[in-house]
Amino acid sequence: MEKPQHNPAAISRRQFLKYTALAGAASVLAACGANTGSTPTPSSQQAASSPGTSLPTPTVVSSQHLGSNAFDWQKYKGTSLKLLLNKHPYADALVADLQTFTDLTGIRVTYDIFPEDVYFDKVTTALSSRSSQYDALMTGAYQTWVYGPANWLVDLRQYIQDENLTNPDFDVQDFIPNILHSDSWSGKPGEAPGQGDAKQWALPFGFEINSLSYNKQVFAKHKLRVPRTLPEIIETAEYISKKEANMYGIGVRGSRSWATIHPGFLSAYTCYHARDFDDHLKAAMNSPQAVEMTKLWVQMIKKGGPPTWTQYTWYEVGNDLGAGKSAMIYDADILGYFQNRGTKAAGHIGWAPVAANPDDPKAYANVWIWSLAMSNFSNHKEATWYFLQWATGKAHLLKGAVEGDQVDPVRHSVANHPKVVAKLKQKYPGYLESFNQLIPNSKIYFTPQPLFFDVTTDWAATLQKMVTSGADVKASLDELAESINKKMADAGITQ
């Protein structure tokens, strides 16, 4: 029985930060009226606090920079930057606030937005051609496992640690540690994110925790308890599929793509203490606990899942929940969030963490992290760093969470901010509670290695075969593990 990677230190650090934040908040409230802060240039500080909002300046007392030199936001005035963005509400929030950045720094920003389905194709071709066209880009953590070692991205540690280039309010400790570390990797296949000499390939600016979003009306109608373990989910889903004429129990992704593995599936998988690779970088999808969990997953789809599951992507899963076709989804919490407005099920969506393993009460969740990275071919790296620290800074992220939909905030200060809490409580009750319960055990549970996309695509294809062709689960997983081991050996990653 293997324990999932779980760092007890992370919890106590979180608690430590919580108290620090509270202490800081107290001192802020006390100092609010006088508008003093640890940065001595009032005008630029004002600009950094998003004029036009009535939020208290999030000037947390930061021990390193008490009374330090003035941070010149205008140092790179006149530069022009270009961003490559994915069509996503987070990007929209960013774009809507770009003028604030330009006012603050005098740096002009233009951007290209591409649809999500072709977005990473575009990123790949742009980066591989070593073009200096884009300075910063949106990416996920998994992509940095490919782009980083290829030297297409810049290791941001040099900037974060540079006092002259990083504004004192950046407060890198304010990031949720698991999330920040999940965006870093040493480049050594098999070494977990954040371990060893992990290079910070990107900074998080919005993320997604995988949990259960469900339709409260249906549950109330049938007087059902919200399921917590995988067997419970199967039972509930099967019940609903039978009892409701036009509805099925649980929606999960099933397309032949890496995107099928990383949300609900891998989260439940982790709950069963299964890993994708063992310590020797040998495929572990056929370990006993992995087989057990996969069998249940296949059962869940067959008994209570969508009829055309193999074609289900993020869109179909979300659409069905919103249109009242499914009672639950096990996917990103924000997917349920988006379906809670302007749809048939709007106003009735609830959220709950999933502790899939009946033998382990802890709810582990894999995460997807939308992040911003710096292109190694940019001709304006310092200016780009200015942009990155602003875009992942407290002010902008707070604005995005309050005024936009940049929830699943990556910073503690934003997640705990009264306005954010109030907004979520009012419009999305249950969302924040689920989020807070899951946060201690939420991170990327994959093992970083260069063949990530091969492995997960093959894995998804295997899942499809098990569900649609009735292939034996153990045999299929054995075959999958063998083929992956061979690929890893061929690519020189393992012997």
């Binding site: 194709d121 790949t124 070692p149 290829a150 030297n151 297409w152 009829p307 599951w309 649609t468």
Partner: protein, 317 residues
């Protein structure tokens, strides 16, 4: 003259009569065909360079994200393709898709062409509408059909529910996925064949048919001995273009199932796309497409021979 001179395909007499009188004009006439063809050559010849580069990639181990190691591996990528246990399946799926789609499009297209060849009020209205499905981009068309065949919302399954097939799996089951993507292909591209054949039918000379009718020939006999042979060049051109397109079809299959379920629809093009964009292995992608290229080249070569023969046959007949 030892050198071959550009000649016109006319009888000698007229050629001589039209031959330019002065030496410089003669030179001009000799070079004219090459000059006329030159722009089209210039506009496309550049493709040889990236093509050659791709061939070069296919002979190396070329991973986009690993610029530090690009060793020459000779024909190893090709060897891997041919010894891959899935290779036969890839060939089979690619050919199955092509044959099925083109066969259905040909039969349906021919039927449509014949039906639309009659002149009536109905056909006058329907003829201009024929081109409509052809205007839909295949990726979008597949997306629309994916929605329509979704048992949750689609109207296709709504109609199917009348025959008890509300949950017909369409693209989501290995048994019906091929049928589904072929259906989309047929929907979009049958008009292409129908239009070409309709045009062909309308250009056929009337006398042979009248003579046959006067001789009391039956409909099937006429069709077999007159219509079909005369229509053959059109059929061949239409079918050839469709075969070329279907062998390389990507958008329709990718939008519908990304090559799934399982490996059911993993054609050459699907595999090549994944290798290039998802796995960043440019060398494997190039090798796969080059194999496909050779297959396509062979098939087209044969078809063009048939086409030339059919044209010559009709000219001489």
């Amino acid at each position: 003259m030892a050198r071959r001179v550009a000649t016109t395909n006319l009888q000698e007499g007229v050629a001589v009569a039209a031959a330019p009188p002065t030496p410089t004009a003669a030179a001009r006439a000799r070079w004219r065909p090459y000059l006329l063809v030159a722009p089209s050559i210039v506009l496309t010849i550049w493709v040889l360079y990236p093509f050659a580069q791709s061939v070069w990639y296919s002979l190396h181990h070329y991973v986009l994200s690993q610029p530090w190691s690009r060793p020459f591996v000779g024909l190893r990528n090709y060897q891997k393709i041919f010894t891959d246990p899935d290779f036969l399946h890839t060939v089979a799926v690619t050919l199955e898709y092509t044959l099925l789609a083109v066969a259905i499009e040909l039969l349906l297209g021919m039927l449509l062409a014949f039906l639309l060849n009659r002149d009536s009020l109905l056909t006058k209205i329907l003829r201009p509408l024929l081109i409509l499905p052809l205007m839909v981009a295949p990726a979008i068309g597949s997306l629309i059909w994916k929605l329509e065949t979704n048992p949750q919302f689609g109207f296709v399954n709504f109609f199917m529910s009348f025959i008890g097939q509300r949950y017909f799996p369409w693209g989501s089951s290995p048994r019906t996925a091929l049928l589904t993507v072929v259906l989309v292909d047929v929907w979009i591209f049958t008009p292409f064949i129908a239009l070409l054949l309709l045009a062909g039918l309308r250009s056929l000379p009337q006398q042979p048919f009248e003579a046959a009718r006067l001789d009391g020939a039956g409909a099937w006999f006429t069709f077999r001995t007159l219509t079909l042979p005369m229509l053959m060049p059109y059929i061949l051109i239409a079918v050839m273009f469709r075969i070329l397109d279907s062998l390389q079809q990507f958008d329709i299959i990718y939008a519908m199932t990304q090559g799934g379920p399982g490996d059911t629809l993993m054609t050459f093009q699907l595999r090549a796309y994944l290798e290039a964009f998802t796995f960043l292995r440019l060398s494997e992608s190039a090798a796969l497409i080059l194999v496909l290229w050779v297959i396509t080249y062979a098939i087209s070569y044969v078809m063009v021979r048939y086409w030339n023969r059919a044209r010559a046959h009709l000219r001489g007949a």
